[in-house]
């Protein structure tokens, strides 16, 4: 009986080494990352005071609403397309005071540095596969909120 368990553990180890190796190889594919960054304003008001603002797309809104926040409405303030070659870094201005610096670390991993008024505020390193969102956020005036939503373009 013990021998059977030992054999099973050994088999599992070999399976892990050989079967999952190609997955690693695929994941290590390097290339340019095409991203989309949105500056989003979260509010309790159904209408934004700025007529240039428009509600965020439905999928992003759904995901933002799934977060544990009170704001039911999200407006897109700005949207930027970002292309980052492998191991390169790109800086994109999202608003007058807000910039993001995105570094492509390979394997769909990004390092995003948030810059406020020219000063780095925070740095986030995260795997960002297609369909997933990386959201940086904070408080804004009048109990509203700002978000920088980053995702891979389809």
């Amino acid at each position: 009986m013990h021998a059977r368990w030992i054999i099973a553990a050994g088999l599992a180890g070999w399976l892990g080494a050989f079967v999952m190796q190609p997955v690693d190889a695929v994941a290590q594919t390097r290339g340019e990352l095409k991203l989309e960054a949105q500056l989003v304003w979260g509010t309790e008001d159904a209408q934004s005071p700025d007529p240039k603002h428009r509600p965020v797309e439905r999928e992003v809104a759904r995901k933002l609403k799934s977060l544990p926040f009170k704001w039911p409405h999200y407006f897109e303030v700005n949207r930027r397309s970002v292309s980052v070659p492998d191991q390169a870094e790109t800086t994109t201005r999202m608003s007058r005071d807000c910039e993001i610096k995105v570094k492509n670390l390979g394997r769909e991993t990004v390092e995003v540095t948030l810059i406020g008024k020219g000063e780095p505020v925070g740095k986030v390193t995260q795997k960002l596969p297609r369909g997933q969102l990386l959201v940086l956020g904070g408080n804004a005036e009048n109990f509203t909120s700002w978000f920088v939503v980053i995702k891979q373009t389809p």
């Binding site: 553990a9 304003w41 700025d50 544990p68 999202m94 608003s95 505020v121 795997k127 956020g137 509203t144």
Partner: protein, 176 residues
């Protein structure tokens, strides 16, 4: 002295009322002239009265039928049930019985190998939703929240100038 067995039986029969009237009459006549027989009869009377006096009276708190039905039910319940005929195990049961535990262990090992790789040792750790956050400013606080189902990673930053990130034309929200 050894008692006369026939006398003993006759006295016993008289005492128990088992003699015919004629025999009982003859026996009483004999008792009148036989002190030993009278003594024997008196002892029998005393024994009977003593037994009647000290016999413990046992009463059931429930009816007789109910009491015995309970006894019967308990006997039936405690009796071993007849052995059921075991269905013949299918052929694959052998493999299931012998290799299911091994398979479960193999799955566990796989999960440990590929699910718990520590960050910094294997690059693929970032694929497991591990997020690394550094804050550059001294007064910045960061909270990370990961919703696997929605595929969202949120990093919530708190710092002094955060209110100026979204410029608005409304007087209420316009930065001063």
């Amino acid at each position: 002295m050894k008692p006369d067995l026939e006398l003993l039986l006759k006295v016993q029969a008289l005492h128990d009322g088992e003699l015919s009237p004629a025999e009982a009459e003859r026996m009483r006549a004999r008792l009148a002239g036989d002190p030993a027989a009278r003594t024997l009869l008196r002892e029998m009377d005393e024994v009977r009265s003593a037994l009647h006096r000290y016999e413990a009276e046992c009463t059931l708190p429930e009816s007789r039928e109910f009491f015995w039905s309970k006894v019967r039910r308990e006997i039936l319940q405690s009796a071993p049930s007849p052995a059921r005929e075991q269905p013949r195990a299918p052929a694959w049961a052998f493999w299931l019985r012998n290799f299911l535990p091994a398979g479960a262990l193999a799955l566990l090992v796989l999960t440990l190998i590929f699910g718990l790789r520590p960050a910094g040792i294997f690059p693929r750790s970032t694929a497991m939703g591990v997020v690394a956050v550094e804050t550059a400013l001294r007064d910045t606080g960061a909270v990370t929240y990961r919703d696997e189902a929605a595929g969202v990673t949120l990093v919530w930053l708190s710092f002094a100038d955060e209110n100026h990130f979204t410029p608005f034309t409304s007087p209420d929200t316009l930065p001063q």
